[in-house]
């Protein structure tokens, strides 16, 4: 971390330093926020930082797609493998774009959304933590160094624990504490994994490590490292049955935090898993020689069905969405477990589409919670009449969750079904369809309550959420529909990313 000081010589173009800027901007904004302390000012700084991060991420993605290769950035001009380098290809540039995009949606929303849920004197801490979390997530994505991943993982995780604990509900503390325990266990397993790898290869640089591992051959220690890293990262992904921390963490944290985490945190961890499977260990070792795909497939299938059924029975809509997230993660890992370009394309496309969908749903729900005073289904009765826009937006988001044609969710399910069929796995395609039916049921529960029941007696004040919350939420719902109708861009980028992953970092 001491090397994190880029030397920007006046004659070098700023665009060459995009990778490090993407990490540094949110990182520096955090102490600035703490210094400023005023609620509005800290929000403003965070807003500016996240817009800047989004701009940089977009430029970076454009650069990577244009160059059709890998952008390597040596921090402090210390060349790898001695120094730490940032390595950007189509995969992490795309995921970083998603994370930054969600940040831009969530921050304007925070202004009022957080005022209602977090105490005034803690606002600056909230924004500082949010920025640190963003910095950590982006850092994990961009870095090309195994230990650096761990450092950024801890930065983002620690910030996340604080963010969750800021929830108004007192159970938020317990949820945060449990996530802290589990997150630490996960991170520890990950560190053990890279420790073993370091012993074997003598390097922490991922690209270097990949090269040397291929020379080492099939050693048991490598397999132990693979197992440790897989389980450690699966915990952060919330892959069934390691998802148990997730529902409470999402349900009791402030709405804006739920939206941000649901759309980004698990996605970044999925990226880490893909990076290790395909770039470091290599698809041949992971899938062909050792049947990891089989376990991942079994867990994905369990994830697609069991949490979805649990979601059906939930009375708290936030928890319902949380369980649905666990279920949707199953689709992504299912795509990974196929180990083909088609499967990976489906996984990456769903990474993007589910981030949009779940982010949108949580944002809409945040506005509803603000007006109705709770996310329990009883409190939401009749909001089809009292908050028609929000209820309708939620239904659209729900349709995307189910995967109805014309929404983003359909695109990724289409890719997934096609990928499964291309492998001759017809029954998998059937399983995806069946699991979608479960989504129909839990989305229907909201529709039924919202449209077919009368509002409760202690009627919440009639009216939509404030404009600053409604606009980001609706824009995100709009994005769900837009990327459902025109999937050319997202589909192409996902395909490029999948190809890049399989090609590796040579």
């Amino acid at each position: 971390m001491t090397n994190l000081q880029p030397t920007i010589a006046p004659d070098t173009l700023l665009t060459q330093h995009l990778p490090i800027l993407l990490v540094i901007v949110p990182l520096l904004s955090a102490p600035l926020i703490v210094l400023l302390r005023r609620s509005f000012l800290s929000w403003l700084v965070a807003m500016i930082a996240s817009v800047a991060a989004f701009g940089i991420a977009a430029l970076l993605l454009q650069q990577v797609l244009a160059s059709d290769g890998v952008i390597a950035y040596a921090i402090g001009n210390w060349e790898a493998p001695l120094g730490i380098e940032l390595r950007v290809d189509a995969v992490n540039a795309f995921v970083a774009f998603i994370v930054a995009l969600v940040g831009v949606f969530v921050l304007p929303y925070c202004r009022i959304g957080i005022a209602a849920e977090v105490r005034q004197e803690e606002h600056y801490l909230f924004y500082a933590m949010l920025m640190l979390c963003l910095c950590g997530l982006l850092g994990i994505l961009l870095t090309g160094d195994a230990f650096n991943v761990f450092v950024f993982l801890e930065i983002s995780s620690l910030a996340t624990y604080v963010l969750i604990a800021m929830g108004r509900d007192r159970r938020a503390l317990v949820a945060s504490y449990q996530y802290l325990l589990m997150g630490t266990v996960g991170a520890t397993l990950y560190v053990i994994g890279i420790g073993i790898l370091y012993l074997q290869t003598g390097t922490l640089n991922l690209a270097d490590m990949a090269q040397r591992l291929s020379g080492v051959g099939d050693v048991r220690a490598t397999l132990a490292a693979l197992a440790f890293i897989t389980v450690g990262v699966s915990l952060k992904i919330a892959l069934f049955p390691l998802h148990l921390w997730l529902p409470n963490a999402y349900a009791y944290s402030p709405s804006a935090v739920s939206a941000f985490l649901a759309a980004t945190a698990t996605k970044v961890s999925i990226y880490v898993l893909m990076r290790y499977y395909f770039t470091v260990f290599g698809a041949v070792t992971v899938f062909d020689a050792h049947n990891t795909g089989m376990i991942l497939l079994a867990l994905s299938l369990a994830a697609m069905f069991i949490p979805a059924v649990v979601a059906i029975f939930q009375r708290d809509v936030k928890r319902l969405l949380a369980y649905s997230s666990v279920s949707q993660i199953g689709y992504i890992t299912l795509g990974i477990s196929l180990g083909t370009v088609g499967g990976l394309t489906a996984a990456i496309a769903h990474l993007f589409n589910h981030a949009l969908t779940k982010g949108a749903l949580f944002l809409v729900l945040g506005g509803i919670v603000l007006r109705c005073g709770g996310a329990n289904l009883d409190r939401l009765a009749g909001i089809g009449r009292t908050m028609p826009v929000a209820a309708f937006a939620f239904v659209i988001g729900g349709l995307s969750l189910i995967g109805i044609p014309g929404t983003a969710g359909f695109i990724s399910k289409w890719y997934l079904v096609t990928a499964a069929m291309a492998e001759g796995q017809w029954w998998l395609a059937g399983a995806v369809m069946m699991s979608s039916l479960l989504a129909v049921i839990y989305v229907w529960r909201f529709v039924e309550v919202a449209y077919f029941q009368a509002p409760p007696d202690d009627h919440p004040p009639v009216g939509e959420a404030p404009l600053s919350m409604r606009v980001p939420a609706l824009l995100m719902v709009g994005a769900c529909v837009y990327f459902g109708l025109d999937a050319t861009w997202s589909g192409e980028v996902a395909t490029r990313a999948a190809t890049a992953l399989l090609e590796g970092w040579q």
Binding site: M182, L244, N291, I312, F313, Q314, I411, W414, A422
Partner: protein, 561 residues
């Protein structure tokens, strides 16, 4: 993207339907009559051809295909929508008319779809629109609407599975005739047949349609099943399996129509019967047969809508729906009675549309030397006249007066019926009006002496049979249960017993399989319910245990295998 897409009549209807949701009174009436006319203008302004070029995923969609067949069906749908919205002017529901327009627009879109994906999208939209139309029928309609939606979503999933399989297997996205040479193709056929109301998943039709409002069922009867007939004609002409399926549907519809008591339920079964007739015609597959099916789809929409309008008027006036509760209304509602009689005759009597269209299909069966099919179709044609025509008219409008407080139907409803009757009469008196629109060139003269006499004899004989067995028929009314009873009444009762009272009462309610089902359901609730083991907040120790188990699993697998 082709400019013609902006002329897509279905798209405009759907947009118009959304606008209709926000206007009331006279503007709504004017708009609802203007929209179908506008759409007709648009439709006939598009030259024959395939328009599209919309890119979606890896495909190029041909969203709009206009040829003789699709133009005919779209035209018929638009006419039905036009007349239906005149009839529905006095409908107070805010949802029904907009939903009917979305529904009708989606049906037109499905008929004009040039590729399978566009077809699927409109197919699902149709399911949603029609569900809303049923739902507008009031509180009692709500559960039926949900059952209806479930069946159609299931049908949609089957169709989608078929389409994806068809594409994955190298099939063309273009919606052309599909050879039945694999599971995906059979799935597509099954998806189509579910919408056609084929056995055993056809009971959604008599279950849901009669619960729609007095005007809702008029819309419903026109679109879903006829769209299914269209896609079957397009996708599976001459598939021989359709002949037995169609004849079975027709027979099944006929028997239930005979013994059913609810007036509109009778008509719902008659729809199944007539769609079966058409499906069998598609199975014959000759040009004559396909012409006949297309023509008969028109005739059937017209006379069935006419009968349903008459029954709708009766329901508005009396609030009663069953044959046994109604009677002697001819005096109070003479005009409606007249139209109902005409509607019954329009099924097959000379000078009406039914005569010139049914005979085409029958002729096709005869030409193909399918003696049994011809005979079956003949019996069915005669039987439905008895079951859905004579029975309704006699039980509702004649027979013992029941002191019902009723007056003549209002002008808007009478105009709806008048227009339909005129359509039927015009086509019946001057067949080229319809024959010239048919997909294939036709050289057929329906009005030969022997043909007319034969048909009149058949009608007369049927009437005689009806009056002879009228008393027996009264006793039989409402005595048969349909398949939907299994999932509407029996199934839920058993499941309820299973979940709530445990295994003790189960022994008497059902066999051991059901006990298994019951315990599975209780199990799901126990494990997945809010306080279930899978949904509880776990102590951190147990979570870590899972981590350990999973780690161990990976290690063991890596080291042993």
């Amino acid at each position: 993207m082709a400019a013609e897409l902006f002329q897509h009549p279905g798209g405009w209807l759907i947009l118009g339907g959304i606008v209709l949701a926000f206007v009331r009174g006279t503007p709504r009436a004017v708009l609802s009559m203007a929209l179908p006319v506008l759409a007709l203008g648009l439709l006939w302004g598009i030259a024959d051809g395939v328009y599209g070029g919309v890119a979606f995923l890896d495909f190029r969609l041909d969203a709009l295909r206009v040829d003789r067949l699709s133009r005919l069906f779209a035209t018929v749908f638009l006419l039905a929508l036009f007349v239906g919205s005149i009839y529905a002017i006095r409908q107070q529901s805010r949802i029904e008319l907009p939903a009917a327009f979305v529904y009708g627009g989606a049906a037109v879109g499905a008929v004009l779809a040039g590729d399978l994906l566009t077809l699927f999208v409109f197919w699902e939209l149709m399911a949603i629109g029609s569900t809303l139309v049923i739902w507008a029928g009031g509180r009692e309609a709500y559960p039926a609407a949900m059952r209806y939606l479930m069946v159609h979503l299931f049908g949609g999933v089957v169709l989608m599975a078929g389409i994806t399989g068809h594409l994955a297997g190298g099939g063309s996205l273009r919606f052309e005739a599909i050879a039945l040479d694999g599971l995906p193709q059979w799935l597509i056929l099954a998806g189509f047949l579910i919408n056609a109301g084929a056995f055993p998943l056809g009971s959604w039709l008599p279950d849901a349609y009669p619960r729609a409002s007095w005007s809702g069922m008029v819309f419903l009867s026109a679109f879903t099943t006829k769209t299914a007939v269209y896609v079957l004609m397009r996708g599976f002409p001459g598939a021989e399996i359709l002949i037995p399926i169609g004849l079975f549907m027709a027979g099944y519809g006929l028997i239930y129509a005979l013994v059913e008591n609810g007036a509109r339920r009778v008509l719902a079964y008659a729809i199944i019967n007539q769609v079966g007739f058409m499906v069998a015609g598609i199975g014959i597959g000759s040009e004559m047969a396909l012409n006949g099916v297309a023509a008969h789809a028109f005739a059937h929409i017209v006379y069935k809508a006419l009968l349903l309008m008459a029954m709708g008027a009766v329901i508005v006036q009396t609030g009663k729906r069953d044959c046994t509760e109604l009677g002697g209304l001819a005096r109070q509602m003479p005009v409606t009675c007249g139209f109902a009689i005409f509607g019954a005759l329009a099924m097959s009597a000379p000078l009406t549309a039914g005569f010139i269209t049914k005979s085409l299909v029958l002729q096709a069966a005869a030409d193909a030397h399918l003696t049994w099919v011809w005979l079956g179709m003949m019996v069915i044609a005669a039987g439905v006249f008895l079951a859905a025509g004579l029975k309704i008219v006699v039980f509702v409008f004649f027979g013992a007066p029941r002191d019902l407080d009723a007056t003549e139907a209002p002008a808007s409803q009478r105009w709806g019926m008048r227009l339909l009757a005129l359509m039927s009469l015009a086509v019946g008196c001057y067949p080229p009006l319809l024959y010239d629109l048919l997909p294939y060139a036709i050289d057929y003269q329906p009005y030969t002496g022997s043909h007319v006499v034969f048909q009149l004899q058949l009608l007369l004989a049927t009437a005689v049979v009806f009056f002879l067995m009228r008393d027996r028929l009264t006793q039989l009314l409402g005595s048969l249960r349909d398949i939907d009873w299994l999932y509407r009444s029996l199934g839920p009762r058993w499941v309820k017993a299973a979940v709530h009272t445990g295994s003790a009462k189960l022994a008497e309610a059902g066999g051991s399989t059901l006990r298994g089902l019951g315990s599975v359901l209780t199990g799901i609730r126990r494990h997945h319910g809010t306080s279930g083991v899978l949904a509880r907040t776990w102590p951190s120790g147990s979570m870590v245990l899972w981590v350990a188990i999973l780690l161990l699993m990976y290690l063991v697998l890596y080291y042993i295998v």
